[in-house]
Symmetry: C2
Subunit: 467 residues, 2 copies
């Protein structure tokens, strides 16, 4: 047995260390693309175990890739360089809500939706709502800085993290931030750790900010026969002084896919469907709903559906959640992106995506959190078809270029991971990337934490083909 594996067992119970091929295989993939076999999987349950593991890994220069439930869409939990997958999912799940301070203190293995459920018992809300909230852990959300539909009004995971306990790559423990909303004591380590995709250490506890649960919620669905008109209606709404809590878009391919997968009453003839949610004081949202209806009709909506009760509203949101699984049925491979543009550039981005689809003859469908410019163009393909995948690679590269050209960014909420790393320099520039790397190297001098994520290797290109 290799020395580092032996060294692990001096503190971590053997039944938490897995080296059989079958076990390692289960940890070789995530919700994105590619398979990479780790040398070992270690399930940790205490801070002491994480400290021990990182000290051993650092001594023996073994790569460590932390993992929650593996739902990541950008390759965060993929053990690209082998080594150890650090499985956090078996850590005891604890949520302590402190309503007087409007905070919750959580362990990394907690499922995100459970935090919101615990907050609701106190009339509070944890706003970030990634579509995977029922299956993904807060640890994974912290690593990737996950978003979700409510990002439009409430922001993303980072905006709700005020304190962290972290084990550094060298196995030391630090506490960042605290329990106060205002804190300017030293550098904001909390916000650089959130979204660093496990490259700066392992988060073992988080303090999250909660907000009072809105008094009322109202959903609206608007149907358009023309995508451009829908784009204009979105812009007009967002500059009207109203901030919806959610504003989602589906193109025709998505509505057809959902109706084929789980019929939900979506209008399959329409070119575009917008689903909007307002929250707040009942009088306020009633006025706002009327104003939005007016805008939608004025800009060409052919139908507006206002659900008459919570159940009808829930059905509409359920249909929206089916988009991702439904389109995954169309072809064997789904390449999912989350390039994001400034709000005013949403119509231009939709146009660029249409051009890319034509140019490369790829099956590109579009849905997503359109209100904050965070679209999800998905390309449906077959990874066994090398000729098709070559076109997909080119199309993905051009999607990123379009987002950057329009003043946007490679990723709004899924993270960089492996797939977007080759495009980092395009957005950050050589010096920007170098300064980021300096921070990484200063914390992880031996480069053991989640190697090959975020930072591209020299000359690295996006490869979706098996060569």
């Amino acid at each position: 047995m290799e020395k580092w594996k032996e060294a692990l067992t001096t503190f971590i119970p053997k039944q938490q260390i897995f080296t059989e091929l079958a076990d390692r295989y289960s940890y070789s993939f995530d919700g994105s693309f590619g398979e990479f076999l780790p040398d070992a999987v270690v399930q940790v349950k205490t801070k002491g175990e994480v400290i021990h593991l990182l000290k051993v890994a650092n001594r023996y220069r073994v790569p460590v890739t932390p993992r929650g439930q593996g739902t990541c869409l950008s390759g965060g939990p993929l053990p690209v360089k082998g080594g150890i997958v650090l499985d956090m999912s078996q850590w005891p799940a604890t949520i302590e809500v402190i309503p007087d301070d409007l905070i919750a203190v959580v362990s990394p293995s907690v499922l995100t939706a459970e935090i919101n459920k615990a907050a609701e018992e106190h009339g509070l809300m944890y706003p970030p709502d990634p579509s995977s909230a029922h299956v993904s852990t807060i640890g994974g959300n912290l690593a990737e800085n996950s978003g979700g539909p409510r990002g439009l009004k409430y922001g993303v995971t980072k905006d709700y993290v005020i304190g962290l306990e972290l084990v550094t790559p060298e196995g030391e423990v630090i506490n960042t931030g605290g329990r106060t909303i205002k804190n300017v004591t030293g550098y904001d380590l909390t916000k650089i750790i959130v979204g660093s995709e496990g490259t700066l250490g392992v988060i073992t506890r988080a303090t999250l900010k909660l907000v009072p649960k809105p008094l009322a919620v109202q959903t609206l669905m608007a149907v358009f026969n023309d995508v451009e008109q829908a784009g204009k209606a979105i812009s007009k709404t967002l500059t009207s002084g109203i901030v919806p809590s959610k504003m989602e878009f589906m193109d025709q391919a998505c509505t057809i896919a959902v109706e084929n997968y789980k019929p939900s009453g979506l209008p399959v003839d329409a070119a575009a469907v917008l689903i909007i949610e307002l929250d707040g004081h009942p009088s306020a949202i009633q006025e706002e709903a009327e104003a939005i209806e007016h805008i939608m009709v004025e800009l060409g909506a052919v139908n507006i559906k206002v659900p008459k009760d919570e159940e009808e509203a829930a059905n509409i949101w359920h249909a929206r959640k089916q988009v991702s699984p439904a389109i995954a049925k169309i072809k064997p491979t789904k390449v999912s992106e989350d390039a994001t543009v400034p709000r005013s550039k949403i119509p231009a981005m939709i146009e660029r995506l249409e051009e890319i689809k034509e140019k490369y003859q790829v099956e590109l469908v579009v849905f997503g959190h359109i209100g904050d410019g965070n679209l999800h163009p998905n390309i449906l393909c077959d990874k066994r078809d090398n000729e098709e995948m070559e076109r997909v690679e080119l199309a993905v590269g051009e999607i990123f270029q379009a987002a950057i050209d329009l003043g946007g960014t490679l990723s709004g909420e899924h993270g960089i991971g492996t797939m977007k790393a080759p495009f980092m320099e395009q957005e950050l520039g050589e010096v920007g990337l170098e300064m980021t790397k300096r921070m990484k190297d200063s914390w992880d001098p031996n480069g053991i934490m989640n190697p090959n994520k975020i930072f591209p290797e020299k000359g690295q290109k996006l490869v979706l083909r098996n060569e």
Copy 2:
């Protein structure tokens, strides 16, 4: 002439470089404590000049201390190690509001209040509102991550910065973040630069997030004969599901000081005054105002004033703004702190401050943004009195210890600078401070950017006496 001064003149016009004693003296102090003479003052007006200056300073190892309008309360712009004061105040002030994207792009020399004024022309708001907003620059606000009364509902400067242009300590230019609300492309360099007090480079442009201006605003003033009762009323309000936009506290010493300075009709007999502001939809804030009145009366408020028009409300807020200048008249020296505690610990902190005042027999007055736990205990003293200043030093140390004991932090919005550096390890721990320092060193290997701020020297203690 020293070589570095000569090197500056090869690119920066001579009339922007000041080396006379009288000029240097004007830049030797800020709004905090202590005087430090720089070797030169350089007024820069372009990015090219900043690049040149930093390249020269880095080559010759000359300390550089950036400065806006010098209103800082924690020593940020003090040239503690001499060298160059980089005066940003003469940079052309530019504000570009892009209403469709809900953002503003600003130059560092812009006065903060001007940003909000420009936003208002488009029905928008820039929420951060430090009391100095009419005289302080956004560059200074970015360096210190300034707060203000609206922090309670809206957060601080950092929460509104989505992109920066920065000249690194080695004179390279990077662009962080961008123009989108969602952005998870690489580490969040933006949020580590904001609040880093000029130790990581010089900000030359910022992209700020704006929000729709609230439809209505309502002020309330509640008067208490007992500080503890006021504390309980605050807690009850904050856990009622209402989030006021502002919630300010003044103790009796403050109201008396204001009435002696500029009579404003404050109740000088009262032990505590709370000033609350609600904003949002008119129906919502009317209900909320009634609920708060009810809570205040229930918990012992002896009087509640609801201003009948905007002018009356403005008068109340004007009185609040007079606290700082008014108490400064009481004694020659004002030592101003901004220790912050979790909301539920506000009454406990008020009690600890009372004990500290008694124990060290110091003239301690308390006001501040009590709704987010961000109090401003101020000690009024005379720096020429060494015996008194020794007691003040001990009292300040104990204020910080009390905040940390209660789960709070050294600074909520003023920054660490020179005065709080000796207490950093108490809050961050040895490893936390070391990890912060590693980031600093990785960006500024020669340690030229604003030395002796945030990071304490070995064995550094708070000294307020002239020895």
